[in-house]
């Protein structure tokens, strides 16, 4: 996978976030402050501009610029967290022109640990971590088992989606939703939902490129 692949991924995220903007915002309205979709749409819109203007010759540079732009443009909780995720992933990808699945799996683990270091959320606390953590494990596992790229990305995206769904029954212990206490149960976490969208976009782009 080269820089073009990663630019295509980010472009796909931008498109998905735009179409799911209101949905994510409504999820946030239920247990937060009704801005998550707006925040991500603004952020990835800015990323699109930044990528169009800068030269990003390597996969790592694409993700690092994405992360830095999110930090500069999103604000809120998700700005620093997603920004850190993409920056840490970009750092883990290093400066090679091509990366393989196993390097990408390591990058996702790095993203997860960046998010957890910054936000201190563990699994089960109803945050984006609940989608990101199982997804990163699933990818690592698929790689370790020698799965095909298609299967590995499917496992990644499915795990993220299942993780997001699993947040519905959780009580939030981190972020704005935690203020609701038990009333947060019964709603999908917006950040977990957007993580599932972001990783679903990765699967879709990989599938498209494989064709």
């Amino acid at each position: 996978m080269d820089a073009g692949f990663f630019r295509a991924w980010v472009a796909e995220i931008t498109a998905v976030v735009e179409t799911q903007r209101d949905h994510l915002t409504q999820l946030d309205a239920a247990i937060g402050d009704a801005d998550h979709g707006i925040n991500l749409a603004r952020g990835f819109g800015a990323v699109e501009t930044a990528l169009a203007q800068a030269s990003t010759p390597t996969p790592g540079s694409v993700l690092r610029l994405t992360g830095a732009t999110l930090i500069s443009k999103v604000g809120g909780a998700s700005g620093p967290l997603y920004g850190t995720a993409f920056r840490q992933a970009g750092k883990a990808l290093g400066d090679g022109a091509e990366v393989d699945l196993s390097t990408l799996a390591g990058a996702l683990e790095a993203a997860l640990s960046g998010v957890q270091k910054l936000g201190a959320a563990r699994e089960g606390e109803k945050t984006m971590v609940d989608a990101l953590a199982p997804a990163a494990s699933a990818l690592s596992k698929a790689v370790a088992e020698g799965a095909s790229a298609a299967d590995a990305f499917a496992a990644l995206a499915d795990a993220a989606g299942a993780g997001a769904q699993a947040t519905i029954s959780m009580q939030a212990l981190k972020g704005r939703a935690s203020y609701l206490g038990p009333r947060s149960v019964g709603h999908e976490d917006p950040g977990a939902a957007s993580t599932a969208l972001i990783l679903g976009a990765l699967r879709d782009v990989a599938a498209r490129q494989a064709r």
């Binding site: 209101d22 915002t25 309205a29 247990i31 937060g32 402050d33 009704a34 801005d35 707006i38 925040n39 603004r42 930090i71 500069s72 443009k73 999103v74 604000g75 809120g76 909780a77 998700s78 700005g79 620093p80 967290l81 910054l118 936000g119 009580q171 212990l173 981190k174 972020g175 704005r176 935690s178 203020y179 609701l180 206490g181 009333r183």
Partner: protein, 330 residues
Amino acid sequence: MKKLINSAETVVTDALAGVAAAHPSLAVDIENKVITRSAGPTAGKVGLVSGGGSGHEPLHGGFVGYGMLDAACPGEVFTSPVPDQMLAATKAVNGGAGVLHVVKNYTGDVLNFQMAAELAEDEGIEVAPVVVNDDVAVQDSLYTAGRRGTGATVFVEKIAGALAERAAPLGEVAATAREVNERSRSFGVALTSCTVPAAGKPTFDLDDQEIELGIGIHGEPGRSRAPLATARDITAAALDAIGADMPLTGDLLVMVNGMGGTPLIELYVVYNEVHRYLAGRGARITRNLVGNYITSLEMQGFSVTVCRLSDTLTDLWDAPVDTPALRWGR
């Protein structure tokens, strides 16, 4: 959605342009969303920077000026600002004595200010944060992101600002800011929701006879829903919640704050009830504010914030202040 705006995308920058036009005492960088005093930094004085989502006006921009903040960074509506803004503000107000960051305790605000502080320190500026967390509606426990920062922010900015104006060092200003926070508690009540312009519809629904107790300042739902009641009963619920967390005795500074859509006549009705309640418990309100100071767009409702004053804090509260939204003594 009925709002006096040109578009959801431009509401924050249009309002900032209005602030710039209305207040010659403020310098407004509209593009980067930083409001500073036009006079620039005061040499040898600790700089005070605050920031947070827009939609809480006059907080924070309306509190920039002599005796209070040096700079404010407004984010998008209800979204914390980004580190770039905070770094620019920090650099702009640094008079060589370091900078206090006044941060309301929300994950987004805390994380972004933390990143900004690291960047500022990389540039050799000493930064001390005070994290305001006065809202008793949220339990401060392992099960939450901690109490939210609400009305006490106004007290922290006023009192720390007065102390900074007296050339106190950063450590002292930060310690006093934290003391004010520790001595303060708030509780909010919503009669109606608010509508984030970019979202276009109300954040939550309340029926005609329902109120939300323990509402946050971003339309985050609170402790519970309750039937609409008299001002007396609603006020008692708010003060009971505060009193369960902090003894309501001694000299008190009390703010009855409107959420943005509540008329002043109702805030005075509430203030009267607050006064009765506290007088009945032997406490004395020695200083007060009644009005819109930290709002949630057009939400109807109020919050009450109580700070247990010391003589020093009273003296700092009384010190001259000259900002668009709070002004006395000059």
